[in-house]
C-alpha cells in the first residue's frame, strides 16, 4: 500500500558491515597557469584518505580551511569523482556493482548555505517532492510525503509548503534542506557545515532535530564542522584532517582525553577558553594553514609543528594506534617507535599512561 511511496535501499551487508569504507581516496585538482595552461600545479584536496563509517554512528570531520573535509564530503555523495582509491557503500564498490544512481539512493547531503541550496523559483513542497518524483513517485504522493516531512522537521505544511525560500528564515530553510535530504529515504546523510551559518539559539534546535531524526529513521551521519563543541556533542567518532590528509581518527571521548597528534592538540587549544579567569595566553600555532597547492613534503604539519625534526620533512608518517588502541589512530612520527624521531619513546610512554 502506501509503503510503496518510497522504498528505502535495503541493508545488504548486515550490521557488522561498515556502511562506508573509504580506501586511499585521492582527488587532485589541477590549476593551469600561464597563457596556454603550461604550468600546471595540483591542489591535493584529498590525498590518500582512508576511513570507515559504521552503520548508525555519527562520524565528525574537523579541520581548517583547505584540509579537504568538504571535498571528502562531496566524494562521499558522488558529486566529486575520485582520481584513485575505493569507495565501498554497504559492501558494494562504487563503479563496480554500485552505480552513481544507486549511491544517490542511499546517500544524501545537507549543504552549509541554506539559501544557495534551495532553488529560489520552486516552492518548498516542490523542492522536497522533486527527489521522490524523479524516482517515480506520483505527484500527489510526493506532495503528501513532502507535507509529512515538513511536519517532522517542525514546519507546519499549511503555512510553509506553498512558500518560496526567500520568505523563510535561515533556520527554517535549513529545516527544509534536512527534509529534502530525507525525502528519498537515504541511509547516510552528509551534513557539511549544516549548522554553522545558523544563530546559536537556532543551531541548538536544529541539533536536537538531527538527533531525533537519526533515531527515527535509523540514519548514519557524517557531520562536518569547524566547531569542536558541536562535533563533540553530536559525534560518536571524529576524524581530524590537515591539508588533505587524515591526521587522527578515533572515538570522540578518547580523542578529547588523549590528543595524540600535535595538530589535534593545537586545534583543541585554539578553542576559546570560556573561563574569564583562565584565558588563552599563548597561541597554539603561528601563521595560517599552508596553501594546499603543492603542500609540504613528509609530514604536512611539520612546517607548523613545535616538535618537528629534520626527519619529519622527508618521511611521511603512517597511522599508528594510540596507546595500543586500534580504534584510535594518529599519523605522527612520535607515535612510531621505529621512526627515528627523538621524542618517540617518551611520547608513546606519555600517551600510554
Amino acid at each position: 500500500m502506501a509503503d510503496t511511496v518510497v522504498d528505502p535501499r535495503p541493508d545488504r551487508g548486515g550490521p557488522a558491515q561498515p556502511l562506508v569504507i573509504a580506501k586511499s581516496l585521492k582527488r587532485h585538482f589541477t590549476i593551469s597557469k600561464g597563457l596556454f595552461g603550461m604550468k600546471a600545479s595540483a591542489v591535493r584536496a584529498v590525498d590518500d584518505v582512508s576511513f570507515t563509517v559504521e552503520k548508525g554512528e555519527t562520524l565528525g570531520i574537523v579541520g581548517e580551511s583547505g584540509c579537504g573535509k568538504s571535498t571528502t564530503a562531496r566524494i562521499l555523495v558522488g558529486l566529486t569523482p575520485i582520481d584513485s582509491g575505493d569507495l565501498i557503500f554497504d559492501g558494494e564498490q562504487l563503479g563496480g556493482d554500485l552505480t552513481l544512481k544507486d549511491l544517490w539512493a542511499g546517500v544524501q547531503m545537507v549543504f552549509q548555505d541554506s539559501y544557495a541550496s534551495l532553488n529560489p523559483r520552486l516552492t518548498i513542497e516542490d523542492t522536497i517532492a522533486f527527489g521522490p518524483r524523479m524516482r517515480g513517485t506520483s505527484t500527489d504522493d510526493a506532495r503528501a510525503l513532502a507535507h509529512e516531512l515538513l511536519t517532522r522537521v517542525g514546519l507546519a505544511p499549511e503555512r510553509f509548503a506553498g512558500r518560496y525560500p526567500h520568505e523563510l528564515s535561515g533556520g527554517q530553510r535549513q529545516r527544509v534542506n534536512i527534509a529534502r535530504s530525507l525525502a528519498i529515504r537515504p541511509r547516510l546523510v552528509i551534513l557539511d557545515e549544516a549548522v554553522s551559518a545558523l544563530d546559536k539559539s537556532v543551531e541548538a534546535q536544529v541539533l536536537n532535530l538531527l538527533t531525533d531524526l537519526k533515531a527515527e529513521f535509523g540514519l548514519t551521519y557524517v557531520f562536518i564542522s569547524h566547531d569542536l563543541n558541536v562535533v563533540r556533542y553530536i559525534s560518536d567518532r571524529i576524524m581530524v584532517m590537515y591539508l588533505g590528509e587524515v591526521v587522527e581518527i578515533g572515538p570522540v571521548e578518547k580523542i578529547w582525553q588523549r590528543r595524540a597528534h600535535p595538530y589535534t592538540a593545537a586545534l583543541f587549544a585554539a578553542m576559546p577558553s570560556m573561563d574569564p579567569d583562565d584565558r588563552t595566553e599563548v597561541p597554539p600555532l603561528a601563521g595560517d594553514p599552508p596553501n594546499p597547492i603543492d603542500p609540504p613534503s613528509g609530514c604536512r604539519f611539520h612546517t607548523r609543528c613545535a616538535f618537528a625534526e629534520p626527519m619529519c620533512g622527508t618521511a611521511r608518517p603512517t597511522a599508528m594506534p594510540v596507546a595500543g588502541d586500534a580504534d584510535h589512530m594518529a599519523a605522527c612520527h612520535m607515535l612510531d617507535p621505529a621512526s627515528g624521531h627523538s621524542r618517540a619513546a617518551a611520547r608513546i610512554a606519555e600517551l600510554a599512561a
Binding site: 511511496v5 558522488g78 547531503m109 529560489p120 522533486f130 524516482r135 503528501a144 516531512l149 505544511p157 518560496y164
Partner: protein, 298 residues
C-alpha cells in the same frame, strides 16, 4: 524505525496550504507599483497598439502622394504632422512605419534570445570542449563592431525584410549567448543544482527545472535592452538601402529619403528620428524596471 509514507493513506487529503504568489505574478505586481514602468509602458503600448491597428485608425493612405502638397509643415489642415518629400501624409507614414520598424526591432531579438539561450546554457552547463567550441566561435563574432557585422551580413544576403531579420538575429546571438553562458556557469555551481543531481534526476531534467528557470530572467532582461539597439540597427540598414526598400514606410528609410528636405523643412525630416528615440527610450527604461522587478531578494 518509522517509515515515511505509511501514514499518508490514513492522514487523508492534505490540508489547505497557504500559497505564496508565483514568481511571475510577483514580478507583475512589482512592475505595477513602479511609476516609471507604468508611464513608459503605457507609451510603448500606445505606439505598438497604433502600429498594429493602423488600418483601423482612419488614417490617410501612407503611399498616396501629391505633387502639389509636398513638405507641408506640421499643423497643416488635413496633414497634422505635415507631408513628406512626395506629399504623403507624415502621421500615417509614421504610424505605418512603426509596424516594420518594431517588427525589425523585436523579431531578431526574440530569435536571438531563443537560439542564444540554448547555446549559452549548453556551453555553461556542459562546460569543457562544448563550452570552448561555442564560446570561441562567439568570440570571433565579437571581433567585429555590431553595426559593421549587420551591414556585412545584410550586404552579403542582399536587401530585404527577411534578410534584415536574419542578419540582425546573427548579430544578437553572440552577446546573448555570452550572457547566458556566464549566468548558467554561476547557477551550475550553486548547491541546489548539486542537490538536484544527487536526487537522481537526469541532466536534462536538472537543466529544465533548476537551471533554466533561474537563468531565463536575467537573459530576458538583457535581451529586452537589445530591442532598442536592434530597432536602431534596422533603421540604419534601411537608411543605407540594405533593409527595407522604398516606397515602404519604415522609420530608418524615411529618415534617409527625407534627408534632402532637411534645409527646407527640418522638423519634418527629424520626425522619424524622434519616433526612434522615443520608442528606444521606452524600451530601455522598461528593461531597467523589469530588471528591478525580477530581482527576488528584497
Amino acid at each position: 524505525m518509522a517509515s515515511i509514507g505509511t501514514s499518508i493513506a490514513a492522514s487523508g487529503p492534505p490540508k489547505a496550504v497557504v500559497r505564496s504568489k508565483g514568481y511571475w505574478s510577483g514580478v507583475g505586481a512589482r512592475l505595477r507599483r513602479d511609476p516609471v514602468a507604468l508611464v513608459f509602458g503605457t507609451f510603448l503600448f500606445a505606439i505598438i497598439g497604433a502600429a498594429i491597428f493602423a488600418p483601423y485608425l482612419g488614417l490617410q493612405d501612407p503611399y498616396a502622394g501629391s505633387m502639389v502638397s509636398r513638405l507641408k509643415p506640421v499643423g497643416t489642415p488635413g496633414h497634422l504632422l505635415g507631408t513628406d518629400e512626395l506629399g504623403r501624409d507624415m502621421l500615417a507614414r509614421l504610424i505605418y512605419g512603426g509596424r516594420l520598424t518594431l517588427l525589425l526591432g523585436l523579431l531578431p531579438v526574440l530569435f536571438a534570445f531563443m537560439i542564444g539561450t540554448v547555446l549559452g546554457v549548453l556551453a555553461g552547463f556542459v562546460g569543457g570542449l562544448v563550452n570552448a567550441v561555442i564560446m570561441r566561435t562567439v568570440d570571433v563574432f565579437f571581433a567585429f563592431p555590431s553595426v559593421l557585422l549587420a551591414i556585412a551580413i545584410s550586404a552579403a544576403l542582399g536587401a530585404g525584410i527577411i534578410n534584415s531579420i536574419v542578419s540582425l538575429t546573427l548579430v544578437f546571438i553572440p552577446p546573448i549567448t555570452r550572457v547566458a553562458e556566464s549566468v548558467t556557469a554561476s547557477v551550475r555551481n550553486l548547491e541546489y543544482v548539486d542537490a538536484a543531481r544527487i536526487s537522481g534526476a537526469s541532466a536534462f531534467t536538472v537543466v529544465r527545472v533548476h537551471v533554466l528557470g533561474n537563468v531565463v530572467s536575467p537573459i530576458f532582461v538583457y535581451a529586452t535592452s537589445l530591442t532598442s539597439v536592434s530597432m536602431i540597427l534596422a533603421a540604419g540598414l534601411s537608411f543605407l538601402g540594405l533593409g527595407v526598400k522604398p516606397p515602404e514606410a519604415e522609420w530608418g528609410l524615411m529618415l534617409n529619403t527625407l534627408r534632402s528636405a532637411i534645409y527646407i523643412n527640418p522638423l519634418i525630416a527629424a520626425l522619424p528620428g524622434v519616433m526612434i528615440f522615443i520608442t528606444s527610450l521606452c524600451l530601455n527604461l522598461l528593461s531597467d524596471s523589469l530588471r528591478t522587478a525580477m530581482n527576488i531578494k528584497d
